[in-house]
């Protein structure tokens, strides 16, 4: 076995190797999907330190459960679901999951941590900050972690109609903000 060559292959093959105990194969999956998981957790509302801790926990949990990954979906979607569940568990435990219409300030973690000049990404992260916690959570779960409305409702322990209305309001705000980012910023600056 070549110990210096990084494992290659499709995610499903790497996951199968990881299920057989190959930690290097799993390490490659971490390398490929680590940033996506960290980004998702920040978009859900976690601060940088919490997001990174939860991302590590998600990958550790993923290694324990990797035999259950059969390749029906992508590995990225699978590990993101694990991460999102861990985040929801944490906020529920801390009783911070409040579905109100008010917009709560969220730490500008992404802008500080992320490098690169992908305008759309920065726009999205900025736009997500204008959403209430509930809207942000529901939109990020459904569009970032690929959850269905039903899955989100079940995990959040709220009616599916509430999830749908949070998603709809969130999408409306995002559409307005992403369509006219400068105008949105100006409006915010003037209070």
């Amino acid at each position: 076995m070549g110990m210096d060559r990084p494992p290659t292959g499709h995610d499903v093959e790497l996951a199968a190797s990881a299920a057989a105990g190959d930690r290097r194969a799993y390490g490659e999956l971490v390398r490929r999907h680590g940033s996506a998981v960290r980004g998702l957790l920040r978009r859900l509302g976690a601060d940088s330190a919490t997001a990174d801790d939860l991302a590590q926990d998600a990958f550790m949990a993923g290694f324990e459960q990797v035999a259950e990954f059969r390749g029906e979906g992508t590995f990225g979607a699978w590990i993101k679901k694990i991460a999102a569940r861990l985040y929801l568990k944490k906020v529920k435990r801390e009783a911070r999951l409040i579905f109100s219409d008010t917009v709560e300030p969220v730490e500008d973690a992404m802008a500080r941590d992320a490098s690169g000049d992908a305008a759309s990404r920065i726009d999205l992260d900025e736009a997500l900050k204008t959403l209430s916690r509930g809207e942000r959570l529901c939109v990020s779960l459904c569009y970032g972690a690929d959850w269905s409305h039903g899955e989100a409702a079940e995990a959040l322990n709220i009616p599916i109609g509430t999830v749908k209305s949070h998603v709809k309001r969130g999408l409306d705000k995002l559409r307005a903000r992403l369509a006219r980012p400068e105008e949105g910023a100006r409006r915010e600056a003037h209070g």
Binding site: G34, S35, L174
Partner: protein, 126 residues
Amino acid sequence: MAEPDFEAQLTRMFAEAPSFPDASLFNAEVAAKLDRGWTMRRMFIGLAGTAAGLIAAFQILSSRFSSEVTQLSRNTGHNLQTELDAGYSKFNALFASPGSSEAVWLAACLAVVALAFAVTRMVEDF
């Protein structure tokens, strides 16, 4: 913009993974945690297997099982069926006696743990 178009655009935007300057550090931390967990697991299984083997050996020796087997082998000249019946009843007697049956079950459990350890080692070495 039509709703499906915007939703598709949003999905694409979410799919763009940000790049973190400390990505390699994050990967290294996860790898270290995996290694640590694996080592701890191997140590635990190894210790459990060793303890299991010692306890099992002690219990089996003290349960008179070996003397029963010796007795059976001495009488091989006798009628085979009679001996098999006698052996079967002695084997049952082993389980009937509370202390002995516990020893046998304990030994079986510990043997399973030891087997798991061996399998883990094989997977690791492979």
